[in-house]
């Protein structure tokens, strides 16, 4: 697939087969606009065509992104995106499979898929639009709600926030990164790196919800994000962990690729599907064991 480039991959290509720009139904200023811009940049830079892309959207404001740019897209159940992506990639390794979902979708209802896909390590990119809330259902707390807040007492109903990066590392993701949609150019660089990773890549993107999260705003993020130091070795899991500890201690949020360590994996071809590949299936060898 990748060798066929039937259309010039310019930034404009991404507006075809997509919802018209003026019909995008995000709130003005929503962080997801930045993610959309960054995605287009990364795809354009890597000269990926819309034909070879399969975007799997979560359910939420964020998941709508799949219809806001060109490329094949699927959207099933809330929380299920990564599992569909896994199956699609296993079936057709030539597809560029990108999962685009919210923090609620990924870490609340979808956390089981997240944990298991980290272990399975398909060559799938996940971009999480992390806004600390359930945007689409009008602002309830997501698992990352409370980031940066100074809360002293917890309850079962209101537990402390959750660390996407640490969970990804622990569960076995082979690329773990973080970006900020307030700086789409920088984010695009991270996405592009993650898109080329031979394994499961998670990018947690801080994508402010201007309507329902009045705490983790653009300004708040600007005051708290910090690029990963140049000397950081993403190949070393301990270095990754230490980096997170260091940033936590300083109350800062790292941007960049924190961990990258591809795993030795079995290669697979696209699964047979056309009649000419299937017509002559000979099941006789399967019968012998029943004699």
């Amino acid at each position: 697939m990748a060798e066929v480039k039937p259309q010039k991959v310019s930034a404009k290509v991404w507006d075809e087969n997509a919802v018209a720009r003026h019909r995008i139904q995000w709130c003005p200023g929503c962080g997801d606009f930045g993610v959309l811009a960054a995605l287009k940049m990364a795809l354009t830079k890597l000269e990926i065509t819309p034909y070879e892309v399969l975007m799997v959207g979560g359910i939420g404001c964020s998941g709508q992104i799949r219809n806001y740019l060109n490329g094949n897209a699927f959207h099933g159940t809330h929380g299920g995106a990564l599992a569909y992506a896994l199956g699609a990639k296993m079936a057709n390794p030539q597809l560029k499979v990108i999962t685009l979902a919210g923090d609620g979708d990924t870490f609340a209802i979808g956390v089981e898929n997240f944990v298991h896909v980290c272990r399975r390590d398909p060559e799938v990119l996940l971009v999480i639009m992390d806004n600390g809330v359930y945007g689409l259902t009008k602002g309830q707390h997501s698992p990352t709600h409370g980031r940066g807040m100074d809360i002293k007492e917890w309850s079962e109903e209101s537990p402390p926030p959750f660390s996407p990066l640490r969970l990804a590392l622990t569960a076995g993701a082979t690329l773990v990164a973080q970006s900020f949609s307030g700086d789409p150019k920088h984010a695009a660089g991270i996405y592009a790196e993650a898109m080329q990773h031979k394994g499961f890549a998670m990018v947690n993107d801080f994508s402010p919800c201007v309507t329902y999260n009045k705490f983790n705003t653009y300004d708040w993020y600007k005051a708290h994000v910090e690029e990963i130091p140049a000397g950081h070795n993403p190949g070393d899991p301990n270095a990754a962990w230490d980096l997170l500890n260091d940033f936590d201690r300083r109350g800062r949020l790292p941007l960049g690729v924190i961990y990258r360590n591809p795993r030795q994996k079995k290669a697979h071809a696209r699964l047979p599907m056309w009649p000419e590949e299937l017509q002559e299936t000979d099941v006789r060898p399967l019968l012998e064991m029943f004699r």
């Binding site: 094949n72 159940t77 299937l278």
Partner: protein, 626 residues
């Protein structure tokens, strides 16, 4: 002397006593000898070790009509110790549970390693008793505990005057053990010989010339196979071009997963043990999006967890074959007992309304053929196709000639898929085009020149989300139209045995067909003429074929292995005829005698509903695991 016609039952303590080992050896060797074996019920517990386990098996010269009644000719009790809960004697669990079903004049073989037991009441019924101290022989004489099962097999073969020169047994043992060394083979043969000797000494002591039963090999045309419904449907799926399978382990569907994991890669496919029920079906849907024929298998609890994905498949028009090997519910229910309790779930489960097809094979053969059809239908109608077996059909084994699998011409028709060459490059392709049939040509991602947006929200022809009332209405009708086309072009009418006009009609679906046919024969023998109407294509319900048939009946009697008579309700909905019910839900198979009794009761008293299975065979109440 009864020749080539018997039902035997092997029982013992699960995992410990080798019930399955013995019944496997017997089944395989009888099959090779050209006999017909039907071993549908598999009596085991949902714990690994320690519960009572039993395997009944019908052996006959001709294919048996059904699994018959609980009565048995030969009882083989492998358990060697006593049941501490049982006040009664004899106190081997297997004998306690099953000896009341032994026919007068039948045979009992039991492991007498811990001593002979009191069997006077059995003997008074003319039952011939063969105590074999198999475990002692194995342990003390042959120094290998595991060969105790072969001691018993050897004794049994002697009783049945079968394989006297041990040709079959030797062949099987060599296949299995030769790579471990000839000594193992010889040790096993010696074990069989010891069993034979014990039996001969009993015969001699009792001055019996024979045991009254004999199995004689029969010639066959070509090799015969002994396989289960799960085996047959897995082979069918591979033949149909299924190349992605996902399943989360669950009784009785796990065997499909294991089969696929082992064999699918040889055909270029992939099989995946899901980390849970949802991951399985979602990954399978993901694979199906790319165009691959894809399938999942599970049982009741796993199916309940997949319900939201039925809607995804239906709404996004991604084909999916979903196998449900039904077991007794609700909830965790009885994981190792069979039931037909999931029809409502597959027909009605899910919020909102989707097109869906439900198929239910009746036999191991149909597990193969109907599975090929299932994949074809999923592909054509781009919706979920449910494949309903049940524990007994999925795990039960039957002899099928190997040639059967070559008979079926299989054409892989993927004409609803759009290829790159079919695609006009003007961007006019619409994934959800509103066609007269409701079937929209399907493009898969990766095709140069076309892009699809596939979504579980309501959408327009291009797949973009829409709640425009006119679009919504058109899309609901488009999806529903596919099922009208299915009812025109693909549904199969029920099979009819006998003439329904003015007669009681026995209605069944799925695995009960053999049973209904046997019940019909028996009723005929008792002067009651019935017709049997049996469905494999359950949903959408084929009213046009069913209603005229059933309206003519003097009484419509559905026979189902569930509580409410789920299919009876479906018939009432669509045919508006009252349906009487014979239902059984105690975990045991429906027996022909249940149906005969039920029908007679209905005809006698006009009963609307007969709940059979009052008498339970288990004298000892024991709590189990899950």
């Amino acid at each position: 002397m009864i020749v080539n016609h018997l039902k035997l039952l092997v029982g013992g303590v699960q995992l410990r006593d080798g019930v399955v080992t013995v019944s496997d050896i017997l089944g395989r060797i009888f099959t090779r000898a050209g006999l017909h074996v039907l071993a549908m019920e598999r009596g085991y517990a949902s714990t690994i070790y320690g519960a009572h386990q039993y395997d009944p098996m019908v052996v006959a010269e001709e294919p048996p009509v059904s699994w018959g009644d609980p009565e048995i000719d030969i009882l083989v009790a492998l358990d060697y110790d006593s049941n501490p809960d049982a006040k009664e004697q004899p106190n081997r669990d297997t004998i306690l549970r099953h000896s009341k079903y032994l026919k007068d004049g039948g045979l009992l073989v039991y492991d007498s390693s811990t001593g002979d037991i009191a069997t006077d009441t059995l003997e008074r019924r003319g039952i011939k008793i063969f105590p074999i101290p198999a475990r002692n022989i194995a342990r003390d004489e042959l120094k290998r505990d595991v060969v105790k099962n072969v001691v018993t097999v050897g004794g049994l073969f002697r009783l049945l005057e079968f394989d006297r020169d041990a040709t079959h047994l030797r062949a099987l043992l060599e296949e299995r053990f030769l790579r471990k060394g000839r000594e193992i083979v010889e040790l096993n043969l010696r074990a069989a010989q010891r069993g034979l000797e014990v039996v001969e000494s009993v015969l001699k002591a009792k001055t019996w010339t024979d045991a009254g039963y004999r199995l004689e090999p029969r010639p066959t045309k070509g090799p015969m196979l002994l396989l289960s419904g799960n085996d047959a449907l897995s082979i069918g799926a591979i033949r149909a071009g299924c190349r992605f399978y996902a399943g989360y382990p669950i009784t009785p569907a796990s065997a499909i997963l294991e089969f696929m994991e082992e064999h699918l890669p040889k055909f270029g496919g992939r099989a995946m043990q899901g980390q849970n029920e949802r991951e399985s079906i979602r990954a399978a849907i993901g694979a199906a999006i790319t165009g691959v024929r894809s399938m999942v298998g599970t049982s009741g609890p796993g199916l309940s967890l997949k319900v939201e994905e039925f809607g995804v498949s239906g709404m996004s028009e991604v084909p999916m074959v979903i196998v449900d090997t039904q077991r007794a519910g609700p909830s965790t229910g009885m994981p190792t007992k069979s039931e037909q309790g999931d029809l409502f779930l597959v027909a009605y489960g899910g919020h909102g309304e989707i097109p869906r097809i439900v198929l239910a094979p009746a036999t191991q053969e149909e597990c193969y053929t109907l599975m090929i059809e299932a994949h074809h239908l999923a592909d054509k109608y781009q919706c979920p196709v449910f494949f309903l077996t049940d524990l007994n059909l999925s795990e039960g084994r039957k002899v099928v000639p190997e040639s059967f699998f070559g008979q079926q011409a299989v054409r892989i028709d993927r004409s609803t898929l759009v290829r790159e060459s079919d695609l006009r490059r003007d961007g006019s392709y619409k994934r959800f085009a509103l066609t007269p049939s409701g079937i929209s040509p399907r493009l898969v991602p990766g095709t140069v020149g076309g892009v699809i947006k596939v979504t579980g929200s309501e959408h327009d022809e291009r797949g973009f989300v829409s709640t425009d009332p006119a679009i919504r209405k058109a899309m609901m009708e488009k999806r529903a139209r596919k099922m009208e086309v299915y009812l025109d072009e693909d549904v199969k009418p029920p099979q009819v045995f006998g003439k329904p006009e003015g007669k009681p009609v026995l209605v069944g679906w799925g695995s009960t067909r053999p049973l209904l046919q046997e019940a019909q024969q028996r009723l005929r023998g008792r002067g009651v003429e019935t017709a049997v109407v049996h469905f494999t294509h359950l949903w959408p319900f084929h009213t046009a074929a069913a209603k005229p048939l059933l309206e003519k009946a003097s009484a419509v009697i559905a026979v189902e292995q569930n509580f409410s008579g789920q299919f009876a309700d479906v018939i009432q909905t669509y045919c508006l005829v009252p349906v009487r019910r014979i239902v059984k839900y105690n975990g045991l198979p429906i027996y022909p005698s249940d149906v005969v009794g039920g029908v007679e009761q209905i005809l006698r008293s006009g009963a609307q509903r007969v709940r059979v299975g009052v008498e339970a065979p288990a004298p000892v109440k024991v709590s189990e695991g899950d």
